[in-house]
């Protein structure tokens, strides 16, 4: 899932200060799972904004709405009736959600309330870690389903750097060494021989360095 976190409140307020009415729109997919932009967080931010303007004695219309997936037009349509009544949209979606709203509601300013961080997983309640960089050439099958591109701080594809101590990364002792994880996992599943297979260097042209990526599936098109 996409992991994000709420921006500083002052930054959000400064961005919406110029509008007299704001529709605060959450997204109940990835950003709900990471407790940044789901229904609950949307209501919290909307309440905080109302309270903040009340404290300052300023009148401002703040309305909240939440849609299942901000990055899909069919879901975005749910707020179509509310949008015209507001000067701007404050989105608690990821970067993709914000841009999708802006594409659909072209005459409305869309302000992001979150900083989108990474693709990751929930390791336990309240803890999310990055484990996929979206490089476009998944090699997890060779590495025991532990990604060297993301989990190794140096993105090494051909073995550990030798700097880890006790299975912890030399860059940050809080971070497990990606290669320690790979070797332990392959040993545990009896596939350590996978490391003898040649894995060509990553072709980074399929990652973001090649510009905005897109996937086209003719069979899925309308």
């Amino acid at each position: 899932m996409i992991v994000a976190e709420l921006k500083e409140f002052d930054e959000i307020r400064e961005m919406i200060d110029r509008y007299s009415s704001v529709l605060v729109v959450g997204c109940d997919s990835c950003v709900a799972e990471c407790a940044a932009g789901g229904t609950r967080e949307t209501q919290l931010l909307a309440s905080a904004l109302k309270l903040s303007y009340l404290k300052d004695g300023r009148r401002k219309v703040i309305t909240e709405a939440c849609i299942d997936r901000q990055c899909v037009d069919d879901f975005i349509d749910v707020i179509a009736e509310q949008v015209p009544d507001h000067e701007a949209i404050l989105s608690l979606g990821c970067g993709a959600g914000v841009q999708a709203l802006a594409r659909v509601y072209q005459d409305k300013p869309v302000i992001p309330a979150l900083n989108t961080l990474f693709i990751g997983e929930t390791v336990l309640r309240g803890v999310w870690t990055e484990n996929c960089l979206g490089c476009g050439q998944c090699k997890l099958g060779y590495f025991g389903a532990v990604c060297p591109v993301t989990r190794c701080s140096k993105k090494l594809m051909n073995g550990p750097c030798g700097g880890s101590i006790g299975g912890r990364c030399e860059i940050d002792p809080e971070t497990p060494c990606g290669w320690d994880l790979i070797i332990r996992r392959l040993t545990a599943i009896g596939e350590i021989d996978r490391l003898a297979e040649y894995v060509p260097p990553v072709n980074w042209s399929t990652s973001h360095s090649g510009g905005p990526r897109r996937v086209i599936r003719e069979d899925q098109k309308p």
């Binding site: 609950r40 209501q43 919290l44 909307a46 309440s47 905080a48 309270l51 009340l54 404290k55």
Partner: protein, 137 residues
């Protein structure tokens, strides 16, 4: 109390059985500014309920949870404590006195404690003044 009429909301766990004698109506008459909201467990409280209550015109919100040992759902009153702390962090961020949201643990069937808690809370709120007016420190 009059200056805070209808301005204090109390969320309380219904397992506290605050009015086993059915005297809630009578009690409310002596506290005209009070709204009592019974919830299945104080752990059901969310930070946005508390902020939204203040944003809707209340001057203070009180969360009454069961004493930890008395919680029927094991950790409900621990969770509500965390949520209240989180809501208070938000108040701090907004520059609003954190005392406007109060958390108190009570033993079930203890109306006397409720009255004492309310008196103290009202005194605190009166010293703060209304939200939007310059707060007295």
């Amino acid at each position: 109390m009059k200056s805070f009429e209808n301005k204090i909301v109390v969320f309380h766990c219904w397992n506290l059985r605050l009015f086993p004698d059915g005297a809630q109506k009578e009690f409310s008459k002596s506290w005209p500014g009070l709204s009592l909201v019974s919830i299945p467990c104080s752990g059901k409280i969310e930070a946005h309920f508390l902020l939204n209550t203040l944003a809707s015109g209340a001057q203070g919100v009180l969360v009454l949870a069961c004493a930890e040992q008395a919680c029927q759902y094991m950790e409900g009153s621990m969770r509500s404590r965390k949520r209240v702390d989180f809501a208070r962090l938000w108040l701090d961020k907004l520059g609003i006195a954190t005392e406007r949201i109060e958390f108190v643990r009570l033993w079930p069937v203890c109306k006397q404690s409720l009255e004492a808690v309310l008196k103290e809370f009202v005194t605190k709120l009166e010293s703060l003044g209304a939200i939007g007016a310059p707060e007295k420190v």
